[in-house]
Symmetry: D2
Subunit: 309 residues, 4 copies
């Protein structure tokens, strides 16, 4: 048991850059501030290690909160090789790409009144119902271009949708050729619309056909790294993908608001993942507990500053 560096009291300099602030947090080094600073170090190493395949897991209602722009930007810059998302984030990404908007609202209001005014609430974000009409037309129209009778992998459907959009996560992924995986797509508005379309018998969607491409990518990767925003299916799916290979992740950063003592995977420490071999015994890994609408922008701003200098 040894003491490390001394804790330095944080100094704020007006006008300091985000990375300068994160470096101050590194010198303080405690609690989640310290963890965030370590996350920046690990994420920087992961992005600069040419041998590393870079996974990004996107859970939580991040797109309605304006965090989708960060994901698109990371895709454009080449900092994501495989994206795994919840269906909800992709649904809201399409909604934004179609020109519909989410709005600043309030978490403390009458949901019954909101229902009457046809406004859907996501904590303190409001989304008028009409966005879904636009969304549904888009999906149905897009699916109608598919070959009847074929079975499609989910990622291929998502690429198809992305190609018909001009900004946002799916659009950028399609334009840059980055695969987007969404293993629980049935659990989303995209899934509901695909199912409705498939009812007329024209297409089918295989639950597992994305696995081969994913596992192949894992097998050929010299090293793998993951930035996990939230838990849920994206975190588990990314971590489990390496279980089929002889090695685990070498770099892993997790931003979550959950807590470990409830036993669920979303709040589980990355150390726990070592016992399963999901990450390697000597992987560089850190969990930052907190709201990703704060930790993700700070992390990415700090690391981009380092990458571009």
């Amino acid at each position: 048991m040894e003491c490390g560096d001394p804790v330095e009291q944080v100094t704020i300099r007006p006008g300091m850059s985000v990375n300068e602030l994160v470096c101050e947090l590194a010198r303080a080094g405690a609690y989640n501030g310290g963890a965030l600073a370590r996350a920046a170090d690990i994420y920087e190493r992961m992005l600069t290690d040419k041998k590393t395949v870079k996974f990004f897991g996107l859970a939580g209602a991040m797109v309605p909160a304006g965090m989708g722009g960060i994901v698109s930007d990371l895709l454009t810059r080449g900092y994501i090789d495989l994206l795994v998302s919840t269906g909800a984030n992709l649904t809201h990404d399409i909604i934004e790409a179609l020109g519909c908007r989410h709005y600043h609202g309030s978490a403390f209001c009458s949901d019954i009144e909101l229902r009457q005014e046809e406004i859907n609430r996501i904590y303190d974000v409001f989304l008028p119902n009409e966005a879904f009409a636009t969304f549904e037309s888009f999906i149905q129209e897009s699916l109608s271009t598919l070959d009847p009778g074929h079975s499609y992998p989910i990622s291929e459907l998502l690429t198809l949708l992305g190609k018909r959009l001009d900004h946002g996560i799916l659009a950028t992924a399609a334009a840059t050729g980055i695969p987007v995986y969404c293993p629980a797509v049935a659990d989303s508005m995209i899934g509901l619309q695909c199912w409705l379309y498939s009812q007329s018998g024209k297409i089918s969607v295989d639950a597992f056909s994305d696995m081969r491409g994913l596992i192949d990518r894992c097998f050929t990767a010299e090293k793998a790294g993951a930035l996990l925003v939230g838990g849920g299916v994206p975190k588990n799916f990314i971590l489990q993908s390496m279980l089929m290979t002889p090695q685990g992740f070498t770099y892993a950063v997790q931003l979550t608001g959950d807590r470990p003592d409830l036993g669920g995977l979303s709040g589980a420490t990355l150390d726990e993942a070592r016992s399963w071999g999901k990450i390697t015994g000597d992987a560089q890994a850190v969990t930052v507990y907190g709201d990703a609408t704060i930790t993700l922008p700070v992390l990415v701003a700090a690391v981009l500053e380092r990458m571009e200098r």
Copy 2:
């Protein structure tokens, strides 16, 4: 703004039954203790309302924590009409049904040593790796009985597995004819094994083919109620299933350890669900924040006591 009943100071009587304790919490009526007491009232009404189709959502690592027995029991007693689960809970249910065990462990230990000893950790629960060998043989053998070339809905696969087991959630559901939905099955060991088997080209699994049965059930239900343990895919999938119908849930109880201010669906209040029409404007609904390894047993013990008297 009106004051309700006065808060009564809780009285503990040695030997009191769980329901007697919950009735004391009802008289106190505050914070999550009060919410748990309201949950018992709502769940009792939901179970006694003959017109209500009863959903159960199972997320979080509940089976490794010994909570699977409660789910099996509710299935046996006819208190669940449709079960939606994460793939992980069903994986661990199969492991237990095959005679492998989870063990009391510790959350504070060396995960690197655990890895060397081939023990997987789920917070303070240990699961030796050998369980997965038994599990894999069982899945591969079970799948080999399927008709080659067919496409299977996920729920049908799960029924098939359940029929080959003699206790646990899947076994009980299969024996009682209750459908088990697992929309994110690809995100689990069951999914990995199904995919491995499907690689030899013999079967395929459609991501959406369970939707028809589910939506039909929602359409024909006079009323619907849900007990949601944890958030994740099960919560969202259950709530979204009613979006295709003219009405929402009439009863809803949610047990979660997450928090609403992070914006994610897992911690979202059920009031938020009213704005979407997922639950009706006048639905009886309550969220109990806390660890479901405490709140679920207390809730079920209280309500079973009421049902059986």
Copy 3:
């Protein structure tokens, strides 16, 4: 690294007693349900160990939530030797003892309207302002019986107040001769009223004069045990009291809703307390994370059942 007992799936028997349920949680043994079962074992041992001085720490707004009755009951049964409380809990205890009531309310309402109607809110509990008028008269009248010019220890003031009441925590403590410590009394309505009274120069209250009695008690104790409800000043004050003695606590149970990774003492694990010597290296200690309006009644009901059989 060794596996302990196997996790047993929980069985609910309608009509089972609270202790029977807690014994089921012990056999499951995982997460906070398992921790609660261990807490019952430790608390039972602590209460039955005749050599142990029993501390009780009371933080969080527990009296407005109806949990004060449990504390009074433990005092009556002789299961508390020293009580350390926040000033707020004692303020609300006096309010209830004077016949004023807290009421069931709602956490989602207009606080501006509540203000206009002179109702104070504590999450979902409402307290009409008029209670404070009754409270203030009582305090001023009580203090007027004191000897002018004297300096009083806080605990002596609280005993004086308790003697003038006929039920509740302070009344029971005064009747049974159990000292109540409230080191942060200035941070409460009791403190504000004492200060107002002291302004006319008649009495003074020494911040430290309770320390001697407390430390003496710690020194003479063969062993010490603590049940800590919430964190705050009561937890720290109880733990620090043993720092002046050669030994630490032998038994410790903590019920808290906070989390450890924020670094604050309220959420800190009891293991951390071992490094300080606040609890002994081999102390039996456990933290149960969750709302004490659930965990405290379950814990006490289980242990009283064991004590009375």
Copy 4:
């Protein structure tokens, strides 16, 4: 119910300043990221409003985590008029000012080994025991300069200590004449040492004598504002101080990791404080949930950047 501004997707620009990032969070406007941006707006208004008396509440183990430097800096810049702190933060401030250091450590280690090596742990911060020997000598020597037989207010003791130090919170407060209140000083190492000294009968410390100065300041303030880091005694004491005056706080920002549904004041919303009249009905107030080792540096960096431009 109305929609506000549209949510703008966040854009990260490498090298952007902290305030530029916070302005992006304002445009996104959701969850705790949005709350943090509103906190910056409110805190900026509070600091620039010349009629406002500025309170600062300091709870949680902030000094061991390197956050004390931010408080000292705010004192130097004149942005704090009254500081209310836990005793623990002031104890650790003195330790640092005496040249002893806190060290980077680990939250996952053997606390029994730490005890043997005489290292105290605060989550992932290590503090060697020898620091307390230095601390105790300093306190005893400082107190020996006091006039025997006198009764001292707590704030006066703290000023005395601060005058004998050359950096840190107490030193800066003493040098700039800012009063530091610590109503629960008995619940800290400072309190234990004061009590030990007082045992020889030479001084006494009055629990309430700081109240007059504080209440007078509240009465003469045209407006009042508060930045509350953590909950605990500092939050309650600051909010209650205004209860004696006809008005409440006009500005309030709270940074906390606690949650409201447990009922405790530490996690309570500032809206709840409106019902009590602690803050005015139209006060500008916001709570940011999260670890203050992240939210405090970001908030202060953003606001200082605005103040200095």
